[in-house]
Symmetry: C2
Subunit: 346 residues, 2 copies
Amino acid sequence: MVRIKDVAEKANVSTATVSHVINNTGKISKETQKKVQKVIKELNYQPNRIAKSLKLKKTNTIGVIVEDITVFNAPEIIDGINKYADEHGWSIIMTNMRLNQLYGNKSERDEMCVIHAPKAAQELVNKQVDGILYIGVHARDMSGIMPKIKIPIVYTYCYTSEENGCYVNYNDEQTAYNATKYLIESGHKKIAIISGLINSYPSRKRFDGYYKALSDYNLVFNPEYVKTGDWEYESGYTQGKLLLQSKEPPTAILGMNDLMAAGAMKGCRELGLAIPDDLSVMGIDDREMSFFLNPSLTTMKIPLTQMGRLSMVILDKLVKGEKVEKPDLLGCKLVVRESVGPPPSN
Amino acid sequence: MVRIKDVAEKANVSTATVSHVINNTGKISKETQKKVQKVIKELNYQPNRIAKSLKLKKTNTIGVIVEDITVFNAPEIIDGINKYADEHGWSIIMTNMRLNQLYGNKSERDEMCVIHAPKAAQELVNKQVDGILYIGVHARDMSGIMPKIKIPIVYTYCYTSEENGCYVNYNDEQTAYNATKYLIESGHKKIAIISGLINSYPSRKRFDGYYKALSDYNLVFNPEYVKTGDWEYESGYTQGKLLLQSKEPPTAILGMNDLMAAGAMKGCRELGLAIPDDLSVMGIDDREMSFFLNPSLTTMKIPLTQMGRLSMVILDKLVKGEKVEKPDLLGCKLVVRESVGPPPSN
DNA sequence: TTGTATGCGTTATCAA
DNA sequence: TTGATAACGCATACAA
């Protein structure tokens, strides 16, 4: 390893001078600058970032804690983070807690998170990161889980009700509202919804949006048209079938996510119904698979990249000690594909 | 920030003693140990990893360079890396070069990689990582791109022909061979293949496997049954349709990846053919979407997690100065779903 | 068994 | 415009 000292000796100057020409601090004569730069090239000197960080008490690094990188939302959020980080000179240390891999998509996962997350945060603090970005696997309250640390934390794809807590999320209610609205404007009056786990925040909010849309458009709310799944494909299949086998089946089904919508489509197929001729189906998420379903799934796209980027924008400010106000919830965009049409005319 | 010195003062011992009880080095009396540990708890002392790294010239950190984290192979490979890293006390710094996001899925991407990759590697070296893991977006030769650095690099989902270069990959030829074999054993004799870009290594190897399987099973090789796509959905659609509209259409199509196989399925649907009754289709990759196609796609699963893990196993040894021999190419597992059946009987 | 003192590679203060 | 030197927080050789 070639140190600043080696450069200084070879260039016949002091380490202070070398440091100055590297960082453009202090007044150094053109000649000395040239001389030093030449030696730097010759020796291929590269500053040791560890030593620099120790001295500066600043790493220019953001720690990203992701609950599970194999979950569909993670890569794009991280991409958004990286985009901003690249543009603004931030480095990223990533901690993938592997929660889904370790505990599956079960309640145990959230319980264990309480153990893993503080550890991960503390480790990052020990590495002197300047701030922490936390990416959840599903939207829930993270309040009180993290240890008291002196660097800012921004949450995304989850939220916090802590006093100065900061999070970036999308608008569940608005999204479900707009989805339902699209179905209504396509002519549907009998619109069913397959909910995610009933005790989850997004399920409640999305239901609110669904309900409000019905209400705004003067459609009767039929409790028979609300079924509860667990966000998974299988539950969409089961609940979808139930819906379609009822006395007065709906003409449209809104899955609270793409997976359950896909399950409902399978159920529909099994009953010999055609989509969208006999039944319209819609999802939320716009995962990759929704494009490949047959027919392709009309859905609401979660602005993942934007969420990652906005999280970094806010964290950047927080790290610099600037005051930030809580950001608005982001909107989801309607992605029109083939699975929604007018209701059957009979 | 509470330093080792603060602990030492409060416990009325020297910093050396504190350091010793923390790291279990040297002989310290039980009492002193207890006393020090008590103070550590009280002060909630956490060692500064930056200072430690500077002193030890070792960061216990692996730098992971991923060409693009939004590409389907990345998350699982990273998961495999994290799994091993967690179990063996390695930290991970991730550099996502965002190649696909910046340049798209075009040749420009590979050209620009030559600019980005050495920079990323040098940055990681400056951060004193102990080794580097490189994850490609598609399998190609990375020889000569990286700068000469003194820490080991292991490549995965790409390869290198450099003298001491080390990479972890799966066996393209064997995979295509087994896929073709499965089609043959399902009764097919007229098996077409849709190739990826013709100048790519995986395309050549997969073709070799296809050819060898035909040959081993005494089937005639018909050049009409070889079409060239570009790995994308659209090309599978176009080439698949071409294949099906020929005078003597194949009874089975092997897409060199799931995307092209999915495209071929779409073409097939448009021509009013049923899968698998009229045509069998098979892919390679086992991306998430292959499960959601209708019918679901029979395909070959790339062992991504295992690739990530094995890369870390090897890098770990390399970092420790152990000699490693080049690992065997990993096998892909057949995933039987609905898209393959016996050929039509007519 | 414990303490003193040095150095890891930087930056920055202050003196020259 | 430059240089000598003291930190940053830690681990460790060596002394006690």
